[in-house]
Amino acid sequence: MVVEAVVESQLLLQLDTITEGLQIALSWPVIGWMAVGLLLGIVLGALPGIGSPVGMAIVLPLTLPLDATSAVILLVAIYSGAMFGGSIAAILINAPGTESAAATTLDGYPMAKQGLAKNALAIATTASALNGFLAAIVLILISPILIGVVLAFGSPEYFLLAILGISLITIVTQGSLVKGLVAGALGLMISTIGTGILSPTPRFTFGQFGLYNGISFVAALIGMFAFAEMMKLAARSQIAESDIELGGSIKDGILTVFKYPKTVLKAGLIGMGIGMIPGSGATTSTFVAYAEEARSSAADGRFGEGDPRGVIAPEGANNPTVSGSLVPTLSFGIPGSGSTAVLLGGLLMHGLQPGPTLFGDQLQITYAIFISLFLSNILIVLVGLSVIPYASRLTEIDTNIIIPVVVVLSFIGAYTLNRNWFDVAAVLALGVLGFYMVRYNYSVIAFVLGIVLGPIAEENFFRSLQISGGSYDIFFDPINRPLSFMLVLGIVFILVGPFLKPYVERTLDRT
C-alpha cells in the first residue's frame, strides 16, 4: 500500500514536471527561438562545409543575452535542423552539407539524377522528422530511469566519469588510443590555465591579467569547430556545378517512407542507440543504418543506384542520433558528438550543470529541451517540405563567401564572451591546432571534452580527496563506493584492453 502510494506520488510529480516543461517549451519567446534555430540549422546544414557543430559554435556566444532555456533550445533546434539540412546538398550536388549526410549521397544523388530529386528530399524530410519525433518520445519515457541513475553519482564518480568519457571517446573515434589520450589530456591540461579552482593561485598566466580567467571553453569550441572547419573548407577544391533539376513529386516521396516501416524503425533504433555512445555521432549511425539496410535488403535492393531505402535508412537514423546523444550529454556531461560538445558548452555557459541539477531542481528545463526536440521534428516536416522548391539555391553559395563571414563571427563571438583578446587569440591558435588534429586523426572531441570538463573533473577530484582525507582509496573502494570502483574497472579495461588484445586473440586462436 505504502509502496503504491509512493510510486503514484512519484508519477504525479513526473507528470507535473513534464507539464511544466511543456509550458516552458510552448512559451514565448522560447518557441520563437526554436523556430529560428530550426531554420538556421536547415540553412547552415545545407551550405556545403558548414554543419551543426560549426553553426552551433558561431551562434553560441550570441546566445549570451538570452535566458538559459531559450539558448539551449535554440542550439538543440539548430542541431536538429542541420541534420535535415545536410541532406539537401547531399542529394542535389552529391556534396553533403554535414558529414552525417554523407551516407545519403549514395542513393539520394542517383535518385536526383533520375529526375526524382523532390522524392529524395521528401523522403529525407519525412524519415528524419518521423524518427526524430519517435526518438524524442522515447527520450521523455526513459527520463525517469535516467534520473535514478544520475542521482546515484557523487564527487568521485563524476571525476571518474569524466576520465571514462575521454577514454571511451579515444576508442570510439578513429585513430590510435594514445592519440586520443593525448588529445583528452591536452584539453584537461589547457583547462587548468587561470586562477586555481580550490585556491586562488594564478596558474600558467605568466603575469597576463587576460589569462586569469583561463581560456574560455566556448572560444576553444569556436576555434576547434568553426575556425578549423573553415581552414578545411579553404583547402577544398571548388565543388563542380550540379546540373540536377528539381524533378519528381513531394507527395510520392512522403508515401514511400510509409511503404517501408521496418526500415524506418530499424534506422531509428540504430540512430538512437549509437547516439548514446560517447564520441560516436550521426556520421557513424547513418553509415551503420545504411550498411544494415543494404545487407538485409540485398536480395531486392538496388543500393547505390537510387534505392529509396538507401535514403530512408541514413536519414531515419540521423535525427534519433540527436535524441540519443542528449542522454550522456545531459545526464553525465559526456557529449556524444561535436555538436553535443558545443551544446554542453552552451549548458555550462548558461549555468546549467549536467547531471544531478538538470535531473533534480531543473528537471523541467530538461523536459522542455526534450519536448522542444519533439516539436522541432514536427516543424521540420512543415519547414523542410516547403523549402524543397528553393533548396538548390542554398547549395550554390560559394564557400569563399562563407569563410570570411564565419571568421568575422568567430572572432567577434569570442570577444563577446569576456571582452578578452586572449579568447580571440585562442580561436586562432586552437583553430590551427584543431585543423592538424583532424588531419592526423587526433580526436578533437576528446580534446574539447577535456577542456569543457576540466574544471568539473578537477573540482570533483579534489572534493573526493577532501572527503577521504587525502586518500586515493576513495576511487577503489568496492564496498562503500561500488559505482566508483566499477568506473575505475571500466577505465582500466579501456586503457589496458588494447594491450591485451593480441594475447587474447592468440590464446583464442590456439584453443
Binding site: 578513429q174 590510435s176 581552414m231 569563399n400 571568421v407 592538424y436
Partner: protein, 201 residues
C-alpha cells in the same frame, strides 16, 4: 640518416607533437618553479604527464619495440561501420570535386599561394589589426581583401563587407562592446554621429 634528411622528412604532425611536448614540460615545471600549493599543482601536472609521455611515444613510434609499438600505432575503432560504403562516398566526392585549382588574384599574377595558408595568414592579420584598431573598421577591409583574392564578384564582396560591418556595429550598439576601439587606435569618436541617428530612430 643525417639530421638534414630527418628535418626534411618532418611533417606538421611532428611539429605539433614537439609543441605539445614543450607545452607539457612547461606545465610540469612551472608549478614547481612558482611554488604552487598542492591543490593547484597536482591536477595540471597529472595531465601534463600524460601529454608528455603520449607525445613522446607518438614522436618515436617508428622506433618502438613489439607490443608497445603496435599499441601506439594501431588504430582502434569499436564502432566501425561498413567501410565499403564510406569508400564509395569518398570516391564519388572526388569525382564530383573539380580538379582545377580555385581562381585567385595571386594565381592570375603568377604567384602560387596555398589557399589554407592564405586563409590563416589573412585571419591572423585581421586579428592583429582588430586588436590594434578595433574590429569595426578592419572587418570590411578583411572581407573585401578575402573576396577579392578569391575573385568573388565585386558587388558580392562589397555587399558582404557592408553586411559584416553592420553585424559588428550591432554588437557595439546592442551588446555595448568596444569594437570601435583598438589597443592602439580609437575610432569611437567617428561613431558618435551614427549613434545619435540610431538613437533618434
Amino acid at each position: 640518416m643525417s639530421i638534414k634528411n630527418k628535418y626534411e622528412q618532418a611533417t606538421p604532425e611532428h611539429v605539433m607533437l614537439v609543441v605539445l611536448l614543450v607545452l607539457s614540460v612547461v606545465f610540469l615545471i612551472e608549478p614547481i618553479v612558482s611554488n604552487y600549493p598542492d591543490d593547484a599543482r597536482v591536477f595540471p601536472q597529472m595531465t601534463a604527464a600524460v601529454v608528455f609521455v603520449g607525445s613522446l611515444l607518438l614522436l618515436v613510434r617508428n622506433y618502438l619495440p613489439g607490443a608497445l609499438g603496435t599499441v601506439v600505432n594501431e588504430s582502434i575503432n569499436i564502432t566501425t561501420s561498413d567501410s565499403s560504403a564510406q569508400e564509395q562516398v569518398a570516391q564519388r566526392e572526388a569525382e564530383q570535386t573539380g580538379s582545377a585549382p580555385k581562381r585567385t588574384l595571386g594565381r592570375e599574377y603568377g604567384y602560387e599561394v596555398n589557399d589554407t595558408v592564405f586563409m590563416v595568414v589573412s585571419s591572423t592579420i585581421y586579428f592583429f589589426a582588430g586588436w590594434a584598431a578595433g574590429f569595426l573598421f578592419v572587418t570590411p577591409l578583411f572581407v573585401l581583401a578575402y573576396t577579392t583574392w578569391f575573385r568573388i564578384r565585386t558587388a558580392v564582396g562589397v555587399g558582404l563587407a557592408v553586411l559584416s560591418t553592420v553585424i559588428v556595429y550591432l554588437f557595439i550598439e546592442f551588446l555595448l562592446l568596444p569594437l570601435d576601439q583598438g589597443q592602439i587606435l580609437d575610432f569611437s569618436p567617428f561613431l558618435e554621429p551614427i549613434g545619435l541617428v540610431v538613437g533618434v530612430i
